[in-house]
């Protein structure tokens, strides 16, 4: 982990790499725009390897340089100038972004080619893919809060049209809701930025970190910025836009939206708390943040189990997994300030694990959707024989999310559990384990249907190219093998060697969430599991049927709550009251 150096007012020798990682995708966007729809895909495939090379170069250079890589635009030092900075966190996120963008591009190559007749959607897709990449790179590298605002807006403007790429009425409606709610969030963020500028006369991350103190205006600014970003990250109860947008978009776009776009605003929250104002948060505010995360895990998972469509199930799983990311905040809080330690590393690893695994799951769901022409979970029987690679990719992605070693999810879970034990906050350890059980439940639910024999001969709507299925599998495998990467060069992992050893016990520990997940799937899944035959199974089902009815009723109740929370006025009022609650919670400690 490169130590944060105190003097950051000079461009380092490799600083040009940071500029390249933003300029390369932007150049691709402009070139594709000029050359027109015929060449958009070609330009994208020329630009993506270049961008990948720049990312690899940053990853190689960073551990060797002393402290973060810095580039000052026009050699103007902050506070007047704008700095780009890459530390370990940025490098890890850049790498995850590059990996997901590359595999999604391979997956989408056949779907979005000009040969399909409709030229408008492919043209828009490749341009928006590169634009998303450019915006994300800017978010990960920006060194001041206003550049972060602009980059966040660019990300939203690239993500919203991805939702409505197919131009159907319901996706247009979902895109509109997404845009309006994201704009609401970013205005709150901008309001907070204005207050911080009024207080400190600078928006540079490093300069602010030296000056931020617990004045009332500063606390209000922090509360406004955090809630604005939570709205864009879709943390429960601000998730009204996520399920329809992510489930309605074309699968390649869903993979980008669910895997990467929500991580952009999450990363800004991490920057804000860990780099700008590590001394500001009180334990109450951080507990509140993690409590929302825990609520997201439970409610998101239960509603996911109630879904009848595969893509909606995966979208609700994203709602739940976003909650997971927020559990790190109270665990990182020690002695009055947020520490960049094991909890932060765990949270970041969970982020990249979810980015890769969820993108893989959406891509395999896309292959299944294209083959069947629909994605009802009850209609999945027999797909395991027809598309074994896609189903395997889905299963591996699900296992990586549950924390199968040696995945990044496993490493993340171990780090967070360790931090929870150190801080004596067992309730967050409980939330972590519950999350694993619920993830197990919906993965088991989908896989049981996919592996069941077909009841009637399958009508194949369209043949999916093998390369698209392999892309999803590659990304799922990548998520499952990420734990073997030497992360301690980039992330603050305490005694990293001890954790990275593979142990048989860790594999055995996986069986518990899988079994618990199976039980939850039987109890809470609205669909009957398609297991026929054995009379003992039937007898058991009959025995538990009262419990199942009760849990289904509670599931329906949760779903109704979710419907109320996803109304526009309710969500907006939740947003404002959360801002007030954060400001109050931070005030309590001082």
């Amino acid at each position: 982990m490169p130590s944060p150096s105190p003097t950051l007012d000079a461009t380092t020798s490799t600083g040009f790499l940071l500029v390249l990682s933003i300029v390369v995708p932007v150049a691709g966007v402009l070139l594709a725009f000029v050359l027109g729809d015929r060449y958009a895909r070609l330009v994208a495939f020329a630009v993506i390897p270049l961008g990948l090379a720049v990312t690899v170069a940053i990853l190689v250079v960073l551990p060797q340089s002393d402290g973060p890589i810095v580039y000052l635009l026009g050699a103007w030092p902050p506070p007047l100038g704008i700095a780009l900075r890459a530390d370990g966190l940025s490098a890890v996120m850049l790498a995850a972004t590059a990996a997901v963008i590359c595999t999604v591009a391979v997956f989408a190559a056949a779907d979005f080619s000009v040969a399909t007749g409709n030229t408008r959607a492919p043209f828009a897709f490749w341009i928006l893919l590169l634009a998303t990449w450019a915006a994300l790179s800017t978010i990960f590298l920006a060194g001041d809060l206003f550049s972060l605002y602009v980059a966040l807006e660019l990300l939203t403007f690239a993500a919203v049209p991805l939702v409505s790429l197919e131009g159907r009425t319901e996706t247009l409606r979902a895109a509109m809701r997404y845009l309006l709610f994201a704009l609401f969030g970013s205005v709150l963020y901008l309001l907070g930025t204005a207050l911080l500028y009024a207080l400190h006369g600078t928006l540079d991350v490093v300069l602010l970190s030296r000056g931020v103190s617990a004045e009332p205006a500063g606390l209000i600014a922090a509360a406004l910025m955090t809630t604005g970003l939570l709205a864009k990250t879709a943390l429960f109860p601000l998730h009204l836009w996520l399920p329809p947008a992510h489930a309605g978009a074309p699968s390649a776009a869903s993979a980008i939206l669910s895997g990467l776009v929500v991580k952009g605003s999450f990363f800004v929250i991490v920057r804000l708390w860990f780099n700008v104002m590590p001394g500001l948060p009180s334990s109450t505010a951080m507990q509140l943040l993690a409590a929302l995360g825990a609520a997201a895990i439970v409610l998101g998972s239960i509603v996911a189990l109630c879904q009848e469509r595969l893509k909606l199930l995966i979208a609700y799983s994203t709602v739940a997994q976003i909650g997971y990311l927020f559990l790190m905040f109270p665990l990182a809080l020690g002695a009055g300030k947020l520490e960049s330690g094991g909890a932060l590393a765990g949270g970041l690893l969970q982020t990249i694990s979810h980015a890769t695994a969820k993108a893989a799951m959406f891509m395999s769901a896309g292959s299944i959707y294209a083959t069947l022409g629909q994605d009802r979970i009850a209609g999945l029987c027999g797909i395991g024989r027809r598309l074994p690679i896609s189903v395997l990719a889905f299963a591996l992605g699900g296992l990586a999310l549950m924390g199968l070693p040696p995945g990044a999810g496993y490493l993340a879970k171990e780090l967070l559990l360790q931090a929870a034990a150190e801080r004596g906050q067992w309730w967050w350890a409980l939330a972590l384990q519950t999350g694993g059980f619920f993830t197990g439940a919906y993965v088991v639910l989908v896989l049981t249907y996919a592996m069941a024999p077909a009841t009637e001969p399958m009508r194949v709507n369209k043949t999916v190219p093998r390369i698209a299925e392999l892309a999803a599998l590659a990304l799922a495998l990548c998520s499952l093998l990420l734990g073997l990467v030497p992360w301690s060069a980039y992330l603050p992992i305490p005694n990293g060697d001890e954790l990275e050893r593979l142990r048989l016990g860790a594999f055995l520990k996986m069986l518990i969430p899988l079994l618990g997940g199976a039980v939850l799937a039987v109890l809470l899944g609205r669909l009957e599991l398609p297991i026929r035959g054995s009379p003992s199974w039937k007898a058991m089902l009959a025995a538990i049927s009262p419990i199942r009815r009760a849990s289904l009723a509670s599931g329906a109740l949760v779903e109704r709550c979710d419907n109320v929370l996803r109304q526009w006025p309710t969500a907006c009022i939740c947003l404002l009251s959360l801002a007030a609650a954060f400001a109050a919670a931070m005030r309590i400690a001082f």
């Binding site: 309006l180 901008l190 204005a194």
Partner: protein, 113 residues
Amino acid sequence: MTAVRVFGVCAALAVGLGLFGLITNPQPLRKIIAFNILGSGVFLLFGIVGRHGAASGIGNDPVPQALVITGVVVAFAATALAIALLLQLFQRAGSATLRNGAPRSAGSDPPGG
């Protein structure tokens, strides 16, 4: 009342009006306009921030003005994108409501609202 305070009160009023409109108006077009009012309030606040610097002897700070101009451009782009989406939605659905469920007939739902 100093000029700074007048501007501050105006900014707060614009933010409040915008928030109210954004939350209570069901029509997307009105929501977009409310978002613009809300944004204007925030930009006004940025403007006063520059004056605030002048009061404490730094001279009139030009940085907030540069930020406001960038912010205005971003808000303009956002509005343009929202209007384009709204037009598409109206053309496809015959109405421009964000409510889920069956779209109502065009007659019962005036254009843009």
